[in-house]
Structure formats: C-alpha cells, structure tokens
C-alpha cells in the first residue's frame, strides 16, 4: 500500500514537473534556431544589459587590466567564464573561442576575446599563461584572473555565479561595436552558430 502511494505521488510530481516545464517554455527566452533542423537546440539566446564592474584584473601576460576598459567600452568583444582545471565545459568553450577567433582574425575582424577565470585562487597568472598556450590562444584572446572578491563581482554582474564552480554553466557573451546590450548564449553553439550570432548582432 505504501509502495503504491509513493509511486502515485512520484508520478503526480513528475507529471506536475512536466506541465510546469511545458508552460515555462512559452515565457522562456527565444530559443535560437539550430543548424540541425528538427533536432534539439544546443543553446538559447538572450539579449541583456550588464553593468561591467569597475575592477582591476590580471591578464595571463602579467599586465594589469581594467575590466571596464577591456570589455565595457565601444570595442566588439566576446567573453566567457572558465577555469583552468575544468574538465568538461571549459575545454569546449575554449576550443570554440580558439576557432572563432581564428576565423574572425582571418577575415580581419578586430573583435577581442576575453576569458575570465572563476577559480582565481588557483588560476594564477602563470596557470593562465600555461592554459592559453594549451588552448592555442592567439593575440586577440586574453585570460583574466584577480582578487576573488572582484571575480565574484564580475560573476554576479553577468549572472554567471552558481556557487560551486563545478555547477558553472556554458555561457558565451557577445557585444558588437558600440552596442549597449550583450548577446548571451547559454549552451554549446557550434562555431558557425557563434559566427552567425555575431553577424546578426552586427546587422541589427
């Protein structure tokens, strides 16, 4: 009897969850179309305003960097959040940046790439330099670390903070020249999809 009860409750709960999720889908941000046609999309897109915190960070080349001047100005920029000991999500995000930056660089685009460490205590400048090399980063791609409190502010500002770093989400942020808003991609868009998002943001 108890077994049956539990089962019924569990089923009802699962049903309720499905219904809830279903209804949420209608108000969720527009789901980007994917190249797969009919397949589950690999990412979602939102356009959001962020206030870039006024903090000084350290780049992998040892230079001190004002975050506002690095990503808060007019310049086109792509930003992601990674950590060097991350095993699953960051390697893919980094591989994506490597290829996107290579392709845009070939076209002579002046967009810059910034990866911000969410594990600043471990990710020293040396660790980031090593990681940049391992990921095949070119000239236009900088890795930033800093004081844990400052990094926390940045994560909060971009709504990426998820407590334990192992819970972090795959996010790519794009800002085109002169734009007020960021395009926030959550998930794993392909290189073509990132380039398409960048292209359509430029033309809008």
């Amino acid at each position: 009897m108890i077994v049956l009860d539990t089962r019924t409750v569990m089923f009802a709960f699962s049903l309720a969850t499905c219904l809830l999720l279903g209804s949420l889908a209608h108000i969720a941000p527009a789901v980007a179309e994917t190249s797969g046609g009919g397949k589950e999309p690999n990412y979602t897109r939102e356009t959001v305003s962020y206030r870039v915190p006024d903090v000084e960070l350290i780049a992998h080349d040892g230079n001190s960097v004002s975050l506002v001047s690095a990503i808060g100005g007019e310049k086109p920029v792509m930003v992601n959040f990674v950590f060097t000991s991350c095993t699953t999500i960051c390697p893919v995000l980094s591989a994506s940046f490597a290829e996107v930056s290579r392709r845009l660089g070939e076209k002579g685009d002046s967009i810059e790439f910034v990866s911000i460490s969410i594990d600043p205590e471990y990710d020293t400048q040396e660790k980031l330099a090593e990681y940049a090399k391992r990921m095949g980063a070119g000239e236009s791609w900088r890795f930033l670390t800093g004081n844990p409190d400052d990094i926390f502010k940045v994560e909060k500002a971009f709504n990426t903070y998820r407590g334990n770093k192992m819970n972090h989400l795959p996010l790519t942020f794009i800002k085109v020249r002169g734009a007020e808003e960021w395009v926030r991609l959550e998930g794993f868009p392909s290189v073509d999809e990132v380039l398409a998002e960048y292209g359509s943001a430029k033309n809008s």
Partner: protein
C-alpha cells in the same frame, strides 16, 4: 558477483596466455592508456576531432581523461553528465536504469547492447552508440585509426575491472598514520576522532544494508555496496626518512584502499611517495611539510611552511628590493623551521636583501640575552623566527632597545601556533604572523560543527586544529566512499573528494577550501596579521588574503 567471477576467470585466461601474446596485449594497453590520458595516438601525433559539429579540438584540450576522468567512471559538470567508460560499463549490455515515467528527466543514460570493437570505433569516430543512438554532441568525434581504437579498447577493458586491494565483500580497509614522533596527545586526539567516526559509520552500515533491501525505490538506484570500515592505525617508528619501507611492509601485510588523515613530524615526502607508488589515495594528512608536486594520489589541506614562506616573501617583496635590507632567519637545525627557512630563501632569491641564518642550539628556549644580543648586533633588520611556541618564550624581552629594535619580527602560525600571538612587551607591535588559517576572531565559528559532533560522543577538544583537520578528512573520505556506491575505485574516490569539497559545510579552521579536477591543495590563501591597533589582544590582516 557473477560479473566479478567472470572477470576473474578472464584475467586467469589472460594470465596463462602465451608470453608473446601477453606482451602484445600489454603494449596495446599502454598505447591505449597514453591515448586515453594524454590524447597521443600510436603514431605519436596528437588526436584531433570535432565537438558540437564544427568545433575543432586537439589532444591537449580534450583527451578522454579530461571528461571521463582517470577512473573512467565519468563526471558531471554544470548539468552535463559524462557516462562511465570502464570495461564493465561498455562491454556489457545496458538496460535502461530508470523506470519509464522517470526517464525523461533522469540523469541516467539509455539502454544499449554491449560494445564491440566495431561499435566502439563508430562511437569514437561517428558519435553513434552500439544501439544506433546518437551520442551527445559534446562527445568529440575523433579521427582515429583502427589500431588506435584497438588500443583504446584494450585499455578500457582494464579500467576499474576488479575490486582494488583493500576492499573485500564485507569491508573497506582504511589506514591512518600515527607516527611515534608526533606529539602523543595530538596523536591520540586525532585517533579519537577517526575511531569515533568509523564506529558511527559501521553502526549506520547495518541500516544502509537494510534499506537497500527493503526500500521500494532505493533498490532501483542503489546497489548493495555497503561495507564496514576497518580502520588500521599505522604507527610509524623513527624519523620520517625511514617511513617508506615501514609503509611498504605494513601495506604488504594489509593492503588498504586509502589513507585518511594521519599525523607525524618531518617531511611528508615518504608517505607521498608511498601513495604514488601503490596508487593509494592519501586524503588530507596533518603535516606542516606537504609535497606540492600535484601527484594524483595525495591531497593536502594546506601548503604548510612552504606556503607560509612564499607568503612572507611576497609580503616583504617591496622592502627587500627597495632597501638594502637585512633579514635574519632564526630556527633549529633539522626542524620544520629549517625547511621553512630554505623555502623562504628560494622564494626571495631574486631580491637584493642580505639573508642570514641563526641556528638555535641546546634544548632550552633561546634566552632573553640571546634575543637582545641578536637585535643589538644585527641592528634594526627583519627577524623571521621560525620556531616552536616554547622557543618564543623570551622573544618579547629587550625593552629599551631603541634604534636596535627590529623593524619586523615575523612568526609562523604553522610552527608556533597560539604562541605566535602571545608575544608581549615592546616587541609586540613589530610582530607579524603569517597564517594559512581563518582570521583569529572567526576561527571559533569554524569549529562549531565539530564541537556539536564531539559533544554527544564524549570527546574533549584538546587540540582544536588537529581534531578539526581529522574530522574534515574523515568526513570527506566517508562521503566519498558512500558516493562511490559499487564503483570501488581509488581514482574515483579522489575525483569525488575533488568535486565534493566545495560543497562541504565544515571547513575546519581555514578561510576557504576549494578543489577542482587535479588540484591538490585545498586551502590556498595566506594572511599576514599584525596586532590590532584598537584591541589589546586582537589581530588584523595586513592585506586581503593572498592567493596561491
């Protein structure tokens, strides 16, 4: 059990196979291991492929081990679940783990037939599993030759293929190190915590097994994997340089699955090496001289005197390079203080400062005269007193030193403990303490959970730091063993500790504890403290905590 018996049989058959064939198989396995761990193909080239359709990747970015981890048992990160790829997981049919109504939102993966060489090749190259289903686009589609797939197949077969030594049908054998050269009272305090935890855990095990048999849903998720803990106390004799052989002998007599906590005087190097050689996890020993080379098997709470020395060198950096500074390191030969002095010399090797050493002789604490002479003869330099608490007894004497007053006297929390904060007299305002622990006024708060835990167990808190560290080590080890379920793998245990530490509510006496994949030092920050100008006996941080 049937599976294990079959695997045992298979091992036996492999063992009696012809020598040449055995060699060829061993070559395949080692080529497969290299591919799995480093992404290097048998050609010597780095493996390449694509993830998420068109994102090109190469070995140093995404070798198998990156996501599936060294254990092969997989991982989860940011909602992405990476399935296990051990021989047992791949080369058997897999039923869907969940009942139908729960499948859609479950983290488990669907059913499929056992992999064979050709279907493994399809999975690796085309991203199609043995049941014809498309794998998650995160899984790279690799460019791999037939022989590379064969090598990988051979290696995966060996991954987590049998119960590791130290685990049998009813018990998990664990050990802790209680070296005879450690302070006896501290050693007993540590053991009391570990034994109480093990006793609790074993009392619980009875209920866990019962639940797994009776619970309506429990069975579907959990296997009957519970084992009692057998905690062995390894009492090591003599100086730490002689421990390696003793450990090998103890291990031969009773192999253990992991070492938990542990205490002893001297360099931890012999234990570290033993753990690396025998591939035994060493979880959070209590040592002031850890080994910071990031070997896979040893995880430390803090960097001990090495981390402190580095923090002091960083703190003094400006002073050392701007002025013709004189630094005097005071320590006893052969002590942890000497190790700290050496580490400081190395950390400050680029500075132009004159760094001198004064070794304390005899068994008595340095006298008031010792300190006064030191101050007067050397002038107003920076004194780094890397000594134990008792040796600091007369440090504060020397009233009216005038211009000979040292500009700074730096003490180590690791070496002197509370003694570092109790220096009195006019020298006190010159004292700075380097500490890897939480700020003094917040430490008690960190111990609350421990105090609550020991109270009903009738354990006195005599050595809060030792007991808190032991409690943290054994709690995390306990949670890791539980989370492994049936997957008794030493590598997996370490991966769970890496992953789980950040979620631990208890953090002993440290400001922050975090680990990540392959990180081996949990507390990375260090404070330089000075006497508070407002409060009579308070201490405040000079700067924000410095990072690793």
């Amino acid at each position: 059990m049937v599976v294990l018996a079959l695997l045992g049989l298979q091992t036996l058959i492999l063992a009696v196979a012809a020598g040449a064939e055995g060699d060829a198989q061993a070559d395949k396995v080692s080529a497969g291991q290299r591919l799995y761990r480093e992404g290097i193909l048998s050609s010597g080239e780095a493996v390449t492929g694509f993830t998420h359709g068109d994102i090109p990747i190469f070995a140093s970015q995404l070798a198998c081990e990156s996501c599936h981890r060294r254990s092969g048992l997989g991982s989860s990160e940011g909602g992405k679940v990476v399935p296990p790829v051990t021989g047992q997981a791949l080369f058997q049919d897999r039923e869907h783990e969940q009942q139908a109504p729960f499948r859609s939102r479950s983290m488990s993966v669907g059913g499929r037939p056992a992999y064979e060489l050709s279907s493994l090749a399809d999975a690796l190259r085309l991203g199609v599993d043995s049941g014809g289903n498309e794998l998650d686009p995160l899984m790279p589609r690799y460019d791999m030759s037939d022989s590379d797939v064969e090598a990988l197949y051979a290696y995966l077969e060996t991954l987590a293929s049998e119960l590791p030594a130290g685990v049998d049908d009813s018990k998990v054998h664990l050990a802790t190190i209680a070296a005879k050269n450690a302070d006896e009272s501290e050693r007993e305090s540590m053991l009391e915590i570990l034994k109480a935890f093990a006793a609790d855990k074993n009392a619980d095990t009875r209920n866990e097994s019962g639940r797994s048999v009776r619970g309506p849903y429990f069975r579907a998720y959990m296997d009957v994997s519970y084992r009692k803990w057998d905690l062995h106390v390894w009492e090591l004799e003599g100086p730490s340089e002689t421990w390696f052989e003793q450990l090998e002998a103890l291990y031969e007599e009773q192999p253990v699955f992991a070492l938990v906590s542990g205490i002893g005087e001297g360099s931890w190097r012999p234990v570290h090496d033993f753990c690396a050689v025998q591939e035994v996890p060493c979880i959070f020993p209590i040592t002031d001289r850890p080994v910071l080379d990031e070997d896979f098997y040893s995880i430390y709470l803090s960097g001990g005197v090495y981390r402190e020395a580095k923090a002091v060198a960083e703190h003094l950096n400006d002073k050392l390079s701007e002025e013709p500074a004189l630094v005097i390191q005071v320590y006893r030969a052969g002590s942890a203080g000497e190790a700290m002095a050496e580490a400081f010399l190395k950390a400050a090797e680029d500075s132009s400062a004159t760094i001198e050493a004064v070794r304390v002789a005899g068994s008595d604490p340095p006298s008031a005269n010792f300190w006064e002479t030191l101050y007067r003869e050397r002038g107003p330099g920076i004194v780094l007193a890397w000594l134990g608490s008792d040796d600091l007894e007369n440090l504060g004497s020397g009233a009216g030193l005038g211009p000979a007053t040292p500009s700074l006297v730096i003490l180590s929390d690791t070496l002197s403990g509370d003694g570092a904060y109790s220096v009195t007299g006019p020298i006190r305002q010159q004292v700075r303490v380097v500490s890897l622990l939480e700020l003094p006024e917040r430490r008690e708060r960190g111990l609350l959970r421990l105090r609550t835990w020991v109270k009903p167990r009738g354990i006195e808190i005599n050595h809060p730091r030792v007991q808190a560290d032991a409690f943290l080590a054994v709690t995390l080890a306990g949670s890791a063993v539980k989370h492994m379920r049936r997957n008794f793998s030493r590598e997996y245990m370490i991966e769970i500790v890496e992953h789980g530490l950040d979620n631990s509510v208890f953090r002993s006496v440290y400001p922050q504890l975090t680990l990540g994949p392959n990180q081996r030092l949990a507390s990375k920050s260090a404070y330089i403290l000075r006497p508070s100008p407002d409060a009579e006996d308070g201490w405040v941080a000079v700067d924000a905590a410095s990072s690793y």
